[in-house]
């Protein structure tokens, strides 16, 4: 387990360094993700020790964003003042995103049968 964690942290570290000095617009962990993905593609399989750590972390991904999301208490007055706009934007956008994705997929794959 420790070996897998070290490996993933190294990719994260490399991602952070590249983000900081080369492409500041892209978050370090996303660059780390791409580096790890590239490594897995070259290797052709997922090393057992990476697998163990990655599945543990991704299985409980939700837990990890609780601390930041609780910050919503600080935005409460702001959200209340804009409640209608937020609700309409979120519901409208969810409907539009699903509908547009499904329709485009149907159109494009209609011309390119599997």
């Amino acid at each position: 387990m420790i070996a897998g964690l070290v490996e993933i942290l190294l990719f994260q570290g490399a991602g952070e360094v590249i983000s900081r000095f080369v492409v500041p617009l892209i978050p370090g962990p996303v660059i780390g993700l791409l580096l790890l993905l590239g490594y897995l593609v070259l290797r052709g399989s997922v090393p057992r020790h990476v697998e163990v750590v990655a599945s543990g972390l991704t299985q409980h991904l939700g837990l990890l964003f609780i601390p930041a999301a609780v910050g919503v208490v600080m935005y409460w007055p702001n959200l209340r003042a804009n409640a209608l706009a937020v609700a309409v934007a979120l519901v409208g956008s969810a409907i539009a995103t699903i509908a547009v994705t499904a329709v485009v997929q149907k159109l494009v794959s209609g011309r390119h049968p599997k």
Binding site: T58, L61, I66, V70, V73, A85, T97, V104, Q105
Partner: protein, 239 residues
Amino acid sequence: MTRGALDIHEIWVYLSGSPLLALILTLAAYQIGLVVYARTNSHPLANPVGIAVILVAAAISVLDMPYAKYFEGAQFVHFLLGTATVSLAVPIFRGLPKMRARLLPLLAALIAGGGASILTAAGLARLLGADDAIIRAMYVKSLTAPIAMGVAERIGASPTLTAVFAITTGILGAVLGRTILNAVRSVEWWQRGFALGVAAHGIGTARAFSVNVEAGTFASVAMGLHGVVGALVIPLVAR
């Protein structure tokens, strides 16, 4: 310490000064969320993270604990977010063969759906007079929350609002998905799953898996692809 001097107040002062209390609150609330989610047969409205956020927010209000103080302790959980984001490479790698087989329709749908997500969310919020903080946080709400929060920092949006909008979007997509997909006459499981993954990331993916395995697999492909492509493209667009 003299005998009998150990009163509740003293225990409280000790606990609230250490990260332990914030960590216990966070993990216990999540555990309660998971139990409720399982009891309701994984109903999307009983989202464990949503429940946990409400419980922790209520608890720190009752305890009169400032958010900054809570976060100081809970940051150990928060820190792993970056590490977990890197780990998403593993499920994305697993989805690559599925992706390759239908690359063109998937990419076209992703770009159209991702674009629609940003335009409608930011557009509607602006139209109804929402302030700038809210509009900015709308840009990345369809990305999987860990990636969305990283991107939010880069485009000057609040990671907190982004996380809250992302969770809400996930729940909405999971609840409304079936009705919308039937309305646009989407019949193929892989297409239905993919649409749900693009719009509603991890929560939509969990929902898709509970209905059909092929739908779930493609939802997870969509979540990964949208996360990565969104992280590369949105900062350029949103500047």
